[in-house]
């Protein structure tokens, strides 16, 4: 069930309505039922993978505190879950490299990349004694399958999410309105900005070699913005829906494109993934405790894993390692750079310039992420330089471009306002405005999404022209 479908909106409306109609103690049960329904609508076969993950991790977590073979159980649970994720993601790509006849088509279950990490994190936390294992299977199943986050994340920790899920929440006008507003903002980012930018991005990246120079630069930049708007938009929709149910889901993006370094970028972009990799891969590998070389290698290993988690392909691996390399290089040269500025008697470059520099690196990295392959990415990057003549073909019609830039401008404005706020959130500030003004704001945003959103069957005036008139 697509987040931007009418079916999903209807499902969400029914779920929220019935949730609050039920007694408090039945509300978590209803959430589980809704989550199962949501997941099975995607593809009933996918449900088996989720069920396997739930049962294996539930059982492992219950047994781990009781047995001396704790480590074996832990590795078994991790191998089964993470191994399955890796196999389904990497196997088709590996086979395609070996056999020219093309990729093996394997079913890739909805949300596997997210709930596998979520499950693994849960089992590890039980192993570490950080949390007690969940005794009731249905509650654990709800944690694993909670529909707003199962397909998009964020990757949640059991001790943070479970209490939210297991408590039936009383109806609150504030939660309903803030949640709906957050979801509406998410739909704006996804439908008006991301999907519109995608029209231009796909045009350039689906025909590598046809475009060069400014067109490639623009497409790479817009892809970064598209990815941010799409991912953060979908997360906002999910968080908004969860908020309507009274459930707080952790933030996953914190204005990452305002970062002044790649290290800072990864503290603001896909926060839950970064935190997971830090806690369950980087620290177990030794983190920064075993010397500079090991720290650098650990960083590269973590980002290589991150790259492959995002997709099976050399370009994804390259992207991951590129980010890791930037962080290592940044860390290794920070003292030297500070000393250089001191020696020159100059101030450190202003944050704005460092933000631009970081943005450039992020765009460069995402260019390879989006390219149809590593070699195609390299060729396109070289074409962008060698065939740069400053001209830009019309990739998108002027009206669509105008809406896109206005949409990006609004996102920038909101991000700047949110970044500058020390406490509270922008939604609360808007709620403090006079009623006619804040209603006008939300109604305008709603109309903007409904009219300018890229959704629905395509419309072409020419298809209706008949008989020459």
């Amino acid at each position: 069930m697509d987040l931007i479908s009418l079916g999903f909106l209807l499902f969400a409306a029914v779920t929220v309505t019935v949730y609050y109609a039920l007694p408090l103690r039945l509300r978590p049960v209803w959430l589980l039922a809704a989550s199962v329904f949501f997941y099975l609508r995607a593809d009933p076969r996918c449900g088996l993978f989720l069920l396997f993950s739930i049962l294996s991790c539930y059982a492992a977590a219950l047994l781990i505190p009781k047995t001396k073979h704790r480590k074996v159980l832990l590795f078994l649970a991790l191998a089964l879950n993470l191994g399955l994720m890796a196999a389904l993601k990497l196997l088709p790509w590996l086979m395609a490299q070996a056999v020219e006849s093309g990729r093996l088509r394997l079913l890739y279950p909805l949300g596997l990349s997210f709930y596998s990490l979520q499950a693994a994190g849960y089992v590890i936390d039980v192993y570490r004694g950080k949390i007690e294992p969940e005794r009731e299977l249905w509650r654990f199943a709800l944690f694993m399958s909670f529909f707003p986050i199962v397909s998009q994340g964020p990757i949640s920790r059991y001790d943070q999410l479970a209490p939210e899920l297991n408590t039936g929440h009383a109806i609150s006008a504030k939660n309903l309105s803030r949640g709906a507003q957050l979801a509406l903002w998410g739909y704006f980012k996804k439908l008006v900005v991301a999907d519109r930018a995608g029209l231009l991005v796909d045009l350039v990246y689906d025909t590598p070699g046809q475009y060069a120079g400014l067109a490639v630069c623009l497409a790479a930049t817009l892809y970064t913005l598209q990815l941010y708007a799409d991912f953060s938009g979908c997360v906002d929709i999910c968080r908004g829906l969860a908020r309507m149910l009274g459930i707080e889901v952790t933030e996953n993006f914190r204005r990452p494109l305002f970062s002044a370094s790649i290290a800072e970028f990864w503290r603001r972009w896909h926060i839950s993934l970064g935190a997971w990799l830090r806690d369950y891969l980087y620290f177990p590998l030794g983190g920064s405790r075993k010397g500079r070389t090991r720290k650098a290698l650990n960083t590269l290993a973590v980002f290589a894993a991150s790259g492959l988690w995002h997709g099976a392909g050399l370009n994804f691996l390259f992207w991951g390692l590129f980010n890791g390399f930037c962080i290592v290089l940044g860390g290794e040269t920070v003292k030297a750079r500070d000393a250089f500025w001191l020696k020159c008697g100059a101030k450190k470059p202003p944050r704005f310039l460092r933000q631009l520099g970081c943005f450039f690196l992020v765009v460069l990295g995402f260019h390879f992420f989006r390219a149809p392959g590593l070699s195609a990415g390299v060729r396109m990057a070289l074409d962008a330089l060698h065939r740069f003549d400053g001209s830009l073909p019309e990739l998108l019609d002027l009206k669509d471009m105008a809406v896109l830039w206005l949409g990006l401008g609004l996102m920038l404005l909101v991000s700047v306002l949110t970044e500058r706020m020390e406490t509270g959130c922008l939604l609360d500030r808007i709620a403090a405005l006079k009623l006619p003004l804040r209603w006008a704001l939300w109604l305008c945003l709603l109309l903007t999404v409904l009219i300018f959103g890229v959704y629905g069957p395509g419309y072409d005036k020419a298809q209706f022209i008949y008989m020459g008139f």
Binding site: L6, L450, G458, K461, Q463, M467, G468
Partner: protein, 327 residues
């Protein structure tokens, strides 16, 4: 309260963005619903070949019968059946004329645009909902029930006309007929089926024709099938031959203008708008021929309505006797 306001805005946006003007179907089909009830003697159904062939102004002038043409381009036969059901909710005509060449085409070949052209102008009713279920595969129907899902993309082409809802109360001066001035000729000639092998007409469409004939009888009317000339009719001669045989077997009247071409007095160079459709010259000749046929084969005494008759007669004067130079 906020939700109510949002709903009002959405409904307003839906009305604005709804496609209203292509080929004037909206005015012609909606105009039917604004005609006085129980005021029509003859109703024409079918596709563009119907609304370019039967001219109600000429028919009225020749026979005194009040007619209306309720047709849209490339209308699939199932939609024609629905149009017939809709029409007879408000009218009790004695003769239903159906331009039947769309029966040769399976509904599966119908495009999205053609489906929307026949659905969009219809007011909401059980018949319309049933037609959506018949024509549109499950999973795609949402954008037909709520066509804003498609037409919101018209934001780039919105004009003042989209904010003009006067069409809801208007009546069509041409009574559903498409008034077309000469554009170019066509290569149409009289046909003969003597050496033609019959080609099958899709069975589901023959069943629909049977159903419509029965429906007409149940509502006190008769069904007359019509075939208008078009340039590529040679491709369909086999089907036309089958249709003749079908009508003979079923006892349905069939007036095939392709056979009586010379009697119509058609001039290929002057009487066609394009390869498939008459212009006003051609439709005037065709309608006079149909009028003669009706007079010879049916006893239809028009129900008098002086005001309506005067109005139609004036339109005939304005558009047929003294045609202006516009489409």
């Amino acid at each position: 309260m906020f939700l109510l306001l949002a709903l009002c805005l959405l409904l307003t946006a839906w009305a604005v963005f709804d496609r209203k003007t292509t080929c004037w179907y909206t005015e012609k089909v909606r105009g039917f619903y604004n005609e006085p009830e129980q005021s029509m003697d003859v109703i024409g159904f079918g596709s563009s070949r119907m609304y370019c062939t039967l001219d109600p102004l000429v028919l009225h002038h020749e026979t005194g019968l009040r007619a209306y043409v309720l047709a849209t381009q490339q209308q699939p036969l199932r939609a024609t059946r629905t149009y017939m059901q809709e029409a007879l909710k408000r009218q009790s005509p004695r003769l239903l004329i159906l331009e039947a060449t769309m029966a040769f085409r399976p509904d599966s070949e119908t495009t999205d645009a053609e489906i929307r052209d026949c659905l969009d102008p219809l007011p909401w009713s059980k018949n319309k909902l049933a037609l959506i279920r018949e024509l549109v595969p499950e999973g795609q129907r949402a954008a037909y029930y709520f066509n804003f899902l498609k037409y919101h993309q018209r934001w780039k082409e919105l004009s003042a006309k989209d904010f003009d809802f006067s069409y809801l109360g208007k009546r069509d001066v041409f009574r559903g007929y498409m008034y077309l001035t000469p554009e170019r000729g066509a290569d149409c000639t009289q046909q003969s089926y003597d050496s033609t092998e019959a080609a099958p007409v899709p069975k589901e469409n023959l069943a629909l024709l049977r159903e419509m004939a029965q429906f007409a009888i149940e509502n006190g009317a008769e069904l007359l099938l019509l075939a208008a000339p078009y340039e590529t009719v040679t491709d369909d001669l086999g089907c036309l031959k089958s249709l003749h045989a079908f009508c003979e077997a079923e006892g349905i009247a069939f007036l095939d203008l392709n056979l009586d071409y010379d009697k119509l007095g058609i001039d290929e160079a002057k009487d066609f708008f394009d390869i498939g459709h008459f212009n006003v010259n051609g439709s005037t000749k065709a309608t006079r021929y149909i009028a003669d046929y009706i007079s010879e084969n049916y006893t239809l005494a028009p129900v008098p309505d002086a005001a309506l008759d005067a109005e139609i007669a004036q339109a005939y004067e304005d558009w047929i006797m003294h045609p202006p130079e516009i489409k």
